[in-house]
Symmetry: C2
Subunit: 334 residues, 2 copies
């Protein structure tokens, strides 16, 4: 069984970890032997101090490999910050992006291989080997080997200008209104090796509760990805990142506002309208189901969607797979 | 007063620190206001994990800036090794060169600036600012902005081949006989900004007890340096790195053997014959003075030369300055 997941950072990583737990515990041998392909967003990538940082790929890798800082959701457990303190002493910029020592080692190893000419997909495979992802039946594929960087147009006391997504997200805490998101380089980017194939050949495609604009939205912008999602015979099932009109985590509301979309489970489903078959919403507050516009070809189910721990995430992933299984005949007949 | 010093790593750094202490304590205002230029060997430089490492420059910088690991002589005090452990977990090579976290930050900061196109001399000035060298009246100048790397021809069970100096020095501990030293890139290297001028305009030129082959010897190989030493009106005074037929520190004996030179204070003075005016030897064991060939224009004095602490190093530097002062009229008349 081939399962393909489009993932951003923390939400995507925790969802995939839950999916793996669900699959490992499944009585179904097809589940236990499932191969999971994670297509990771690289629009968040940034070069800091000459080192290439891929936050979303690393969050997935650290989470699945057991190295994640659990409370924080990103970065490494048992982290120290000696290098960054020294860089600050040298006056190196920027200082608004927190880089721990263990994390920096990942970026040093990655940058060294990239500088040798190895494409990001291969570099990512090398890094994932250390974290045992292949042994868990997981491949982590960057959406593209070509650099794509999400920039944010802001308009504040310093005037209208574009800043790197990370500067908006981390330094400005997404508090300065975003006027527009521009995925620099995406028009000429090529989907990474295996990306389109893994969508086309999948038995199930899953969208975790990742940010619909700056995570999933960026992956969808890679030429060919949206067509592959429309054309695949696999059912495509998503998990709403919005519960009761608020993002479960992160600044998805600020992102949705910038593109003129309401922060509701229904409005997010609308962004995926052309390929989405199943949509899980959390109707605990009684507002989410009602926000979803009824349309032919979309099946909506309500489940608790807070990934409070691994079993909770596993239950959500299981519900997504169940929904996909129920939709299989429908999609296959399209 | 302008004092120019040609320096390698630990020996050069400790000598300059002693020199600064001597100058600061001097009753002579010309000494207290002296400007010290240190010309640093960059032949030891190596790119590790994509980061540019300049061991000799850093040893001088850390020693003068109070950041040195005192017992070790190189690297940073209060050092940790988180990054290197992670790099090893990723399988990154090599692992035989110890890089601490604080030290790595220096290399990250340096590499970032070099990648932006800044020449090594400017990068070094930026790094030295943090360590307060300008405030001590010290400029640290790389011998050249062009990359020069000392390679060592060895012949062991793996056959005859050239390895980077650091691999021979650190991994092989200089125990495999060196057949030859090759300073790759030196023939086309240009002396760094201020290097030749600082020798020509100096009131005194000092050679610390640095390795005569792979530290001082490499600096002397930079086109123009030797001519500047021959032509300067400043007396050139050196401190023997050999005491009683053994190097005070490091593997100078293995280096001298490779170029067919005896490990004696006299034989080392012979390497500097064409420009050396004064030579300090340590005759405690009764063998060093006798090894120095009498020649017109070379004045030899015996002093205790072990730099056991800063006052000891200051006394040696003071003796070198005293000898230079006595030689001043002689050289100026050349």
């Amino acid at each position: 069984m081939q399962i393909t997941v489009l993932a951003g950072g923390v939400g995507g990583a925790r969802f995939v970890r839950g999916l793996l737990a669900h699959l490992a515990d499944s009585p179904d041998p097809a589940h236990r032997d499932a191969e999971v392909t994670v297509i990771g967003n690289t629009g968040d990538d940034i070069t800091l101090f000459g080192l290439r940082v891929c936050p979303d790929l690393d969050t997935v890798m650290y989470t699945l490999g057991g190295g994640i800082h659990e409370e924080q959701g990103w970065g490494r457990a048992d982290e120290s910050h000696v290098v960054q303190g020294e860089l600050a002493a040298y006056g190196a910029q920027p200082q608004w992006f927190g880089l721990g020592d263990r994390d920096i080692a990942t970026h040093v190893a990655r940058s060294q291989l990239l500088d040798l000419g190895m494409p990001l997909s291969q570099v990512t495979a090398v890094l994932c080997d250390r974290w045992g992802l292949p042994g868990q039946g997981v491949r982590l594929l960057p959406m593209s080997d070509d650099p794509v960087e999400t920039h944010v147009v802001v308009d504040d006391q310093d005037g209208r200008r574009a800043v790197h997504f990370q500067e908006w997200w981390v330094r400005m805490r997404a508090a300065v209104p975003a006027q527009q998101f521009v995925a620099v380089g995406i028009d000429t980017a090529t989907a990474g090796p295996g990306v389109l194939e893994s969508i086309r050949a999948a038995d199930v495609v899953l969208l975790p509760p990742s940010n619909p604009v700056v995570s999933i939205g960026i992956i969808l912008g890679v030429p060919g990805v949206r067509d592959a999602l429309r054309g695949t015979r696999a059912p495509v099932v998503g998990v709403s990142p919005i519960v009761g009109g608020r993002p479960v985590r992160g600044h998805a509301d600020a992102c949705l506002r910038a593109i003129g979309v309401e922060t509701t489970a229904g409005a997010v489903a609308g962004l995926y309208e052309d390929f989405l078959d199943g949509w899980l919403v959390d109707d605990t507050l009684g507002t989410d189901l009602g926000s979803v516009r009824q349309r032919a070809g979309l099946t909506v189910r309500s489940r608790p969607l807070l990934m409070t721990d691994v079993p909770a995430a596993a239950a959500i992933a299981g519900a997504a797979l169940d929904l996909a299984a129920d939709l299989q005949p429908q999609r296959a007949s399209v």
